[in-house]
Subunit: 449 residues, 2 copies
Amino acid sequence: MQFELNKNTISEIKQLIISNDTVAISSMLKELHYADIADILDEVDFDSAIIVFKLLDSEISSDILAELDEDIRDKILQALSAKEIAEEIDELETDDAADIIADLPEDQKEEVIAHLEDVEHAKDIVDLLRYDEDTAGGIMGKELIKVYEDWTMFTCVREMRRQAENIDKVHTVYVVDDHEILKGRLSLKSMLTTSTKTPIKEIYNDAVISVKIDDKDEDVALIMQKYDLIVVPVVDEMGRLVGKITIDDVVDIIKDEAEKDYQMAAGLTEDVEADDSVFELVKGRLPWLILGLIGGLGSVFIMENFEGALSKYKALFFFTPLIAAMAGNVGVQSSAIVVQGLANNIIKGSIWKRLLKEVSLSLLNGIILSLMILVFGQVMGYEFNFTLSIAISLVAVIIIASLVGTFVPILLHKKGIDPALATGPFITTSNDIFGIFIFFYIAKLILGF
Amino acid sequence: MQFELNKNTISEIKQLIISNDTVAISSMLKELHYADIADILDEVDFDSAIIVFKLLDSEISSDILAELDEDIRDKILQALSAKEIAEEIDELETDDAADIIADLPEDQKEEVIAHLEDVEHAKDIVDLLRYDEDTAGGIMGKELIKVYEDWTMFTCVREMRRQAENIDKVHTVYVVDDHEILKGRLSLKSMLTTSTKTPIKEIYNDAVISVKIDDKDEDVALIMQKYDLIVVPVVDEMGRLVGKITIDDVVDIIKDEAEKDYQMAAGLTEDVEADDSVFELVKGRLPWLILGLIGGLGSVFIMENFEGALSKYKALFFFTPLIAAMAGNVGVQSSAIVVQGLANNIIKGSIWKRLLKEVSLSLLNGIILSLMILVFGQVMGYEFNFTLSIAISLVAVIIIASLVGTFVPILLHKKGIDPALATGPFITTSNDIFGIFIFFYIAKLILGF
């Protein structure tokens, strides 16, 4: 069974919608995976999306709701009554259900919750609404299989059958004590190979890694990656088992985190995508461009101040874009290495060692690049003193730019600010200004204008 | 049980190594998770790492080997004999085992393989060595539970017990026919709730998503993310079940992919990390800086050509860093949006619509920024015509830079080249040169120097 969604399928569906052939659409949808149907809804216009959505069984339509892009989901939810939404929610796992309800308008929330059929399910969902979106509590689900340490294997298997509803998504059976405190886990192996009379207490594995309910979602992601976990139990302040987080939810966090850093480095405020509207794109891009503009105007000021050099050393002014570019590039490189190092937790050791390393590597890079400048100066027939002053100031600019790029993110990180802020336009712009100032200042010292 | 590794633990271990108290070290290591011990080995010096490594049980030391940074792992392997390496490999799952063997020197490979105890395991590993690292075959493991469709549930459970060795890591039971062709999967639920006489044929679920053995690892990652899969079966050209890939292996690919894009955008050749040596860091950073230098020298050339404007419009030359910065920033923004869009498969629709969108959004950004320039010019007391020429050329530069930033990555992608190449220094440098040329050219047209 191959679930490749191709363009033909989409245009076929579009045709069927136009000819209003609901029978054919329904039979086509039955063949498709919900994630593919979600893709189709993202592709077609909104009215068609509603037509398709209403043709689906609630079992599959709920999965699609959880999968859809937020803007389309919001539109579809607006077209549904509170009762209809509640029917969808009834089919969903608690974590997805809570995410959807959290996004509803305040007044609709209660109405939808009141319409939920399964009271236990509703309780779990309401419970989850309490937690911050970016904590373990905010991403966990309530669905899990737990057994009490006093039970025998026989009770345990019977209980698992009772809870068998969601059981094919359960990867671990957790063991708790009378107070619901997490004690360990039970492997499938021990369940298959132990006699039914054995008490759970004797066979469970007490080496279980858990996260706390108020742990940051990024930390949960790091822990799951480090220990190669596919599912991790969540405990409250008392150590009681309250939920579980599966790796597929964490994959999205890992990806979002990486994309956020990337977007910041590229000078985009968070979450701008190629298919956003022109207005949203301007909103995402303009702030950083204004920052760049202010930086550029700063350079204009600096050069006005060194105007005196123009008569004798006009070529100095031809080198400013080069100096600015080098300062910017070096700064971005340094900050990117630090930001990734901080994210992967490998920035350790003394600050002096890091300083020494950064200076020596910049010195090496700077000297190589300066030699190239000297060759270029010879070829162009510039005065040697003039090229030398450019070469020397280039080395200085590179060293200082790399120090700024290295230590600004470390400082931000220490102050609890996202160090990724320091990559991209912010570091480029400040390094541009620094760079140009240092360049002219050193040139002035050497050439004496 | 909390597996937090803190600095105290590390310094304690270091102390114990100095005082050569192997008993205390051993008992301390017993309390730690293998991923934490791997962290410790990354931290201490190499001789200490070897001491610690040799104190470990082979069951845990093999997991640590699979977890270690490549450079430290290579060093440790060099300190082991082929027989010792084979003992470690014997304990590992086939995918990790194959990865380690693949990295060994050619002559050592065969020797290690010859020392492997379990012939079946060795066969599987040798099998895996055939596949490219970046394909489904290269990342899959051979460990899986498969049952034949003709079996009854009774045979199935008996067989699962036999294979119970690795069973607590198995999440799905696959069903194959006599020719080993993948037919479907068996849920834990149906196993728990079906009588032992039921034939597998009647109860298995045939909706199973699989990947082909030569699928790209990035595509496997996309499929697993899209369909929220925790494990995916791998089939060969005939549809025969040959292995499985779990999400924790794919998480690393997703992360590497995102980090690679980020590093390219920041002007780093792949895989430079904060704790690499100065030499490696120079190697990772210098090439892009040289590119930037060449770009900067290009700007020098251009300005030499417009030197005539110096006498009358010297302030024009003060604006070049601003123009270059804006061209660079806009280009990076555009390319980053396109690269992310391509990675997430949301760059669709006609090229003309995208062109129109990019031009209109750049026009909007450009006009707002130009108005700010005009105000600045008034404040500085520049001639109005002069500021106007800067404002107009800024709009032109922004539009062209955003078009270059948008369409270069799309073009590269169409040619099968990684579009991320077009972000960062490459696009910045070319946009710097373009930008400065356009700037002077338009200024010349308007001001007529």
